[in-house]
């Protein structure tokens, strides 16, 4: 629903399934509402057993209620930018209008 595209979950699942199982994924966004949280939770739901973390660039407040950054340094093999302009990178794919998937490790 938040991805503004039909079968967004299917497309996301297909991107995630290409990753090895023991990898980290980082979801990045700056939403001031629950939509980023929903996208993160859905990614985490679909990506098991890969570890999924959330970096919310907004400070935590009543409107931007949730983040879940990794406890230390990680090398994510994929980053998902939700409603945020990602830095240019070679392996990028858009899912709907708001989500950009960037493969860091091939």
């Amino acid at each position: 629903m938040h991805l503004s595209v039909d079968d967004g979950t299917k497309a996301l699942r297909s991107e995630l399934s290409a990753l090895p199982l023991n990898e980290d994924i980082l979801v990045v966004g700056a939403q001031a509402d629950w939509t980023l949280c929903d996208v993160y939770m859905m990614t985490s739901y679909l990506a098991w057993p890969r570890r999924v973390w959330l970096l919310n660039l907004n400070p935590i407040n009543a409107n931007a209620p949730f983040d879940f950054p990794p406890p230390g340094a990680i090398e994510p093999s994929m980053m998902l930018f939700y409603d945020t302009t990602p830095p240019p990178a070679p392996n990028q794919r858009k899912i709907g209008d708001r989500l950009v998937v960037t493969r860091i490790k091939s």
Binding site: M41, M42, S44, Y45, W48, P49, R51, A62
Partner: protein, 454 residues
């Protein structure tokens, strides 16, 4: 093994009927020859069946997997069902022609539960707090991967949440042979039916009036917060299931006040399973056991109180041990309580109380439930049911006070978000009080009163 081509209703029927069969057998063991009404037996069998399936699947999954687990558990459930059928042929449950009105109501409720359940998806909480465990279990041949419980990137998934709902969903997936996040909502139907039957039978025995039983069973569908609002029966999030066990245990407790010879076993089992349904079930179960302890102490029945606490302690301690063993860690969501904290944040106390009061008068969610409950408790306390009114007051007030304390210690800005769902079990008790106190001009009907144990 079924496949995706089999309609979800048939897969649901396979899961629900095997669950009901098990419940019938467990009910036979619990009732031990007591005469019971058909309606009460259906409610009890559905609740105990779901409890049995969840525990049996969880425990068996440590030793078996794949088709051995699924077919083996099916055989166990069906054998229990056969035992139940044989038992209840011998000890025929009672069905009165005047129960016909309730049967029509229950059918309408089941249809409404199914219709509304499929009008909504599982929702975020339904997926990530409950269903994901069932899905993982299915994908790992019936064995929930223990790595799930100590995955640091998923500690926000509340790995310490107990497994009653996930195990019932997993049984639907395993028995049906497919993961079906839509079809799993069929499980809302037996839950609604169980609630309806428990209300009808419990209130009827308590008051001797079938009309009051019908009022109670009709009311829970009419309160959006309990039926259709997030957390209600149609969502499969665990709050309604928790309410189901809490309601059944509370009615047993109230019936104990009427009949001191009443068996303690149903109460002990319902209260004992509360910590297995949801985390806050530990609070609700604890409150029930304390109130029960006070009542039995007054009646010099201490042994009964000790027996009643056993299932609760086993379930509570068992789940804690499991969580410790698998390293299930949840992020610490609460500040440590201290006098300094209270002194620094005393204004939050008023914010919490104000938030709770505002929620109780939220008409869109609760209609007039809490206002009517207040009037009902006042009316009961003025009639001959003063102790019953006090019991209901305690069972609503003490958990609510505990929740307020938890809100106070929660530093998150959205700490009150969970309140409407936490109120569901308490609201279900409030409905009982309203039905009992409802002003009716009635002649005393013959009710099916459970026989005391020999």
């Amino acid at each position: 093994m079924m496949t995706e081509e089999v309609p979800s209703v048939l897969r649901a029927l396979a899961a629900i009927l095997t669950t009901f069969a098990a419940g019938l057998g467990v009910s036979a063991l619990v009732l031990r020859g007591r005469v019971y009404a058909v309606t009460g037996l259906i409610g009890m069998s559905l609740v105990l069946g779901m409890a049995f399936v969840s525990v049996a699947l969880f425990l068996l999954s440590f030793f078996f997997s794949g088709w051995v687990l699924v077919e083996g558990l099916t055989v166990v459930l069906l054998l229990l069902g056969c035992f139940g059928v044989v038992h209840f042929i011998k000890h025929k449950p009672v069905f009165s022609k005047t129960d016909g009105g309730f049967v029509v109501l229950a059918i309408i409720q089941c249809v409404a539960a199914a219709w509304f359940a499929f009008a909504y998806d599982l929702g975020g909480d339904g997926l990530v707090n409950f269903e994901i465990r069932a899905r993982l279990m299915f994908e790992h041949a019936g064995q929930i991967p223990l790595a799930f419980f100590n995955d640091p990137s998923r500690s926000w998934l509340h790995p310490r949440y107990p497994l009653f709902i996930p195990m019932n969903e997993a049984w639907f997936y395993l028995r049906g042979g497919v993961v079906d996040q839509v079809g799993v909502k069929w499980l809302a139907v037996p839950m609604a039916l169980a609630a309806s039957c428990i209300y009808y039978n419990g209130i009827e025995i308590l008051t001797g009036s079938k009309v009051r039983g019908v009022i109670a069973s009709a009311m829970f569908v009419l309160v959006p917060g309990i039926f259709a609002a997030p957390g209600g029966v149609i969502w499969m999030w665990g709050d309604f299931a928790l309410g189901l066990f809490f309601l059944a245990a509370t009615l047993e407790l109230l019936l104990f006040l009427k009949d001191k010879q009443r068996s303690v076993i149903p109460f002990a089992i319902y209260a004992g399973f509360l910590p297995w349904v949801k985390t806050e079930g530990a609070i609700l179960g604890g409150c029930l056991l304390v109130v029960h302890g006070i009542l039995t102490w007054r009646a010099s029945l201490i042994r009964r109180s000790i027996v009643a606490a056993f299932p609760y302690l086993i379930v509570f301690a068992g789940w804690k041990v499991f969580c410790l063993a698998v390293g299930a860690k949840a992020p610490n969501e609460f500040l440590p309580p201290s006098i300094d904290l209270v002194a620094q944040n005393y204004s939050k106390i008023f914010a919490v109380i104000w938030g709770v009061l505002r929620e109780l008068v939220e008409v869109k969610r609760w209609s007039l439930l809490w206002l009517l409950a207040l009037l009902a408790l006042f009316r009961l306390s003025r009639s001959g049911m003063r102790v019953q009114a006090l019991v209901v007051c305690l069972l609503i007030g003490v958990p609510l006070a505990c929740y307020c304390g938890a809100f106070f210690l929660n530093p998150r800005p959205y700490y009150l978000n969970a309140l409407p769902r936490l109120l569901i079990p308490l609201g279900m008790i409030a409905i009982s009080a309203i039905a009992v106190a409802f002003p009716l001009r009635e002649k005393k009907e013959d009710s099916v009163v459970n026989e005391p144990l020999p």
